[in-house]
Symmetry: C2
Subunit: 332 residues, 2 copies
């Protein structure tokens, strides 16, 4: 900036103000400054700005290491960066080992002012992170909803609707004894999915087969073993709703270990974050949860919040849709 000041013969202050289009700078001067700035490829020094103003130009994505399992991080990161690319914001990934202290990274960011906004996930109905961030009036957006009466920016997949439509589809196929592989009970979308499932059962006339031994956070091996037992029992379901793509893989293995056949002994609907299942097991009906879009929405939401937009305008819910069956061959 000193260089620009020297080249234009102006004061440093003037250059600074001209570049941010302040009203007390002449139009012609601004033009000149902008030209020179572009010419020499001026980029504001982030440390300088940050030290002086406290603005970090950083968005922090707070991740549990557990999230890796679902392969959700990739598209989320990509989606976020797509939006940030057009802004001065950088994306910093802040993980926390062991889910025992979810507040740790939040406190760190609040205490050190490490970012201008945060994106968090794995939301709980009563989430202390949301309480803390709201108290401190710190901009954030959540992947998933809460139930505390606090209005905050979020993006969510309509898991209730997903389960409801899944039940409808299975009943249409003549299935009546349905099972749900659900999210862990402490997360908000557990009850969303559960409720949607139960509504579906009632509305479409099917019954529920209990399967609470495992949830989508369990290891694939644990899910497979539990489901193999269920499928081998006299209580075996004939319709399956899977709350996660990797869970579905384990369920399929369980079915096969029990010497049953998908599509014959049972049908399955699964939420998926990618195309793999559709390619390898086209007999599974899938609803695609687009995490990349979620990343985009969340990035837009935090930025909106940073800019002071009211939180209730920064909420979005993405509607599930069945994916068309995979065309197995070009001429088919």
């Amino acid at each position: 900036m000193k260089t620009i000041a020297f080249m234009t013969g102006l004061g440093i202050t003037t250059v600074s103000r001209a570049l941010k289009d302040a009203p007390d700078i002449g139009a012609e001067t601004k033009e000149r400054v902008r030209l020179v700035a572009k010419q020499i490829g001026y980029q504001p020094n982030r440390a300088g700005v940050r030290l002086r103003t406290g603005k970090t130009n950083v968005i922090s994505l707070v991740l549990t290491l557990e999230e890796e399992i679902m392969g959700i991080t990739s598209p989320m990161v990509i989606g976020i960066t797509e939006i940030l690319a057009g802004t001065p914001y950088h994306l910093v990934v802040t993980p926390y080992s062991s889910s025992k202290d979810p507040l740790g990274p939040i406190r760190y960011i609040l205490d050190t002012g490490a970012a201008d906004g945060v994106i968090i996930s794995r939301m709980e109905p009563n989430d202390p992170r949301v309480t803390l961030l709201t108290e401190r009036q710190f901009p954030f957006a959540t992947h998933g909803r809460t139930e505390m009466g606090i209005v905050h920016p979020y993006h969510d997949f309509d898991n209730g609707r997903f389960a409801y439509e899944a039940v409808r589809k299975l009943v249409e196929r003549g299935r009546r004894r349905l099972v749900l592989l659900e999210p862990p009970p402490h997360l908000t979308f557990h009850s969303h999915m559960r409720t949607g499932f139960e509504h579906g059962l009632k509305d479409f006339g099917a019954e529920s087969v209990s399967f609470h031994q495992v949830n989508i956070d369990y290891s694939l091996v644990a899910i497979r073993d539990a489901f193999e037992k269920l499928m081998g029992s006299s209580d075996a379901p004939d319709g399956i709703v899977s709350g996660s793509g990797s869970g579905a893989i384990a369920l399929i293995a369980g079915i096969e270990s029990a010497r049953k056949k998908l599509g014959e002994d049972a049908d399955m609907v699964s939420k998926v974050p990618s195309d793999f299942l559709r390619w390898l097991r086209p007999e599974v009906m899938t609803m695609y949860e687009d995490i990349r879009v979620a990343g985009r929405e969340l990035a837009k939401a935090v930025i909106g919040r940073i800019e002071g937009k009211p939180p209730e305008t920064l909420q979005s819910l993405s509607q599930p849709e069945f994916q068309p069956p995979m065309a197995r061959s070009p001429e088919a």
Copy 2:
């Protein structure tokens, strides 16, 4: 820091020096300063340090958006952050849209001093990014190798060995007409894999079926269609080596579209970054590329470089191993 200085009655400079264990500060004073610092939870202000010293305490992971396809980003990010967690470094993800300007993000980082070190991937034999970073003496580590005679930190999976062992395995199964789904030709590991494949053919006595119409960067649909055609032709291979997990999925679809059967008409070996294939298609033989470990190694390597360790001590090659077949049921 001002607070600590006030509380201890020392000068700000003394506090600064005491905290970094400078030799000209009394042992007792250091102890006192450290105690007070811990007491009030002092964390150095990153902007202050960065402005004064130029040290950003940031490692930048430079990604192509294409990388998402392979689902490689998640474990890579997790692996890196695992290492950075014990250090003052933050991880910033810097993507570049459209692979037409791979130098863009590198230039940005060099020009603005946005990071202390960089991790890059999708290496080419003659890679301008490596040239540039080396010229400017900027610490970096690469996921994959180059062939320019420049010694630099890297981590790589031994793709040559992978293809060689894959051929051995297929020949052991009685397969003789082998095909390779290879990486795109401009990337370094293309020739690694190709060479390993050819060596295998020669050493174990098999022949190559040409399949250059597509590579692992093509869409799954394109790969499937091309492979379906090949499998339907009189030139059909009976052994397949797939350079990527998602590619393998498309190949399987191609086989099935051509009304052939995996395990009967042909066997397949694939490199995979996750467990999915093993669960869903246990008949595919897999070698696991652990991207999380790669992330860890790369993080350690850049930090080593930042600390001035010689590059030749920061290189690692991970050896492929066949995964044990999936136990289909607990009692088996």
